[in-house]
Amino acid sequence: MRNALSGHRRWKPVWRTPELKKIYDVVIVGAGGHGLATAYYLARKHGIRNVAVLEKGFLGGGNTGRNTQVTRSNYFWPQSAAFFDHSLQLYENLSRDLNFNVMLSQRGVLTLAHSHHELESLRRWANAIRINGVDSELMTPGQIQELVPLINLQARFPVHGGFIQRRAGISRHDAVAWGYARAADALGVDIIQQCEVTGFAITNGKVTGVDTTQGKVSADKFSITVAGNTSVLAAMAGFRVPITSMALQAMVSEPIKPCLDTMFTSSVIHMYVSQSDRGEIVLGGGADAYTSYAQRGGIATVEDNVAALLELVPAFSRLRLMRQWAGITDITPDTTPIMGKTPVQNLYMSGGWGTGGYKAIPAGGDTMAYTIANDEPHPLIADFGLERFERGALIDEGGASGVAH
């Protein structure tokens, strides 16, 4: 309060800027939500505090700061539902756990169907979600109109119905990164920014160190949590991953008064929309359909995305877009993440998050910390390993990934 009344000049940094040491117990590459959460749970739940999180840019500056802040667990397959609902439950207590307000707002996520046949498949999906023990409710067009008065049900692709997960919602993505960073730092974790990993030291199939732009570091165990750059880091460590990196776009309008108190999404017309606490209409869903590491998107995709929104909510046609950006998503063939061990001993990975990594941050950190500490996959991620591709045990969540690829 005193700081707020004195021109905000007296705030102190909430985490340290330590020197990079030569040796750690665990080194985590990438200080996004997943990397920071992994470090936090390693320190808090497993007592491993001699941990460094290396970040080539700035903390939370990759996909953690580029997503549209959605948290939901409306997944089709039991393994995914169990994992993502664990994440949602951790989100529900995250502000208290981290003593940092992540501004979770469980305003519901509504998925629309635009044809009779799509409604049939949504019905199957909504039922599967309930069987998985997660909440979902089918909605008629009338109920949708009541929930979202601005929606135009008679659009080019008319709205035939939908389903809602009411516990789903949005939270503040920067707060999640900062909350985990502060809490991990307080437990002794070193967060090293501006430190890019340039290579792995591997002897006899076992990783012993990394080369970075700030020098060499050795450790017992290493973890790769680098979202869109997973293929690049895997190549440095000498193995291949089934990932294609693509630029997923999002954009916000100028801020307006509250008019949309839920979130809705449509996979047929590639669009999802919500209103932020600042009043901006947050729009996303379009990915440029080719491999890209450029954190910007093409204008053709923006046009498609905006056209889809305006057909459903014509009133938004008067808004101007304020910002548009892209994050590099690491898409897997079954749109399920790749978590756990790698072909290199003592090297773990958490990647392939594709278009939905943000919602998984708490559970991703929790389960990876367990996996690293015990050298064995956490039961919730036992089916998410890289070896599933060789076994043919894919978990096809193309429908639930929220974006049609």
Binding site: S231, V241, P242, T244, A289, A294, E390, R391
Partner: protein, 91 residues
């Protein structure tokens, strides 16, 4: 917006094309191990830099061809036909 030179129709906008992903994938013999088969099915070159990829001019001639494109700058270094070897862009 990418401007892509179709070898058959000339330079057109990206929206006329469809990207088919990683090119030059060779199907192994059926008796290979599960690991090699899964590498063929699922693993893809996904470089941060020059990528050799297939594109199809779907809203044009409908022909497939190859492109060597930088995935960071999106600069197109070469366009070549299906069946041609990937150009060496090292120099």
């Amino acid at each position: 917006m990418l401007r892509i030179s179709c070898p058959y129709c000339g330079t057109r906008d990206e929206v006329e094309f469809h990207c088919g992903g990683d090119s030059h994938i060779i199907r192994p013999a059926p008796e290979v191990s599960d690991a090699e088969w899964s590498d063929y099915l699922f693993n893809r070159n996904n470089p941060r830099g020059v990528h050799y990829e297939r594109w199809c001019h779907v809203f044009g001639c409908g022909q497939w061809f190859n492109i060597a494109r930088n995935t960071v700058t999106h600069e197109i270094h070469a366009v070549y036909r299906m069946g041609d070897a990937a150009p060496d862009l090292e120099q």
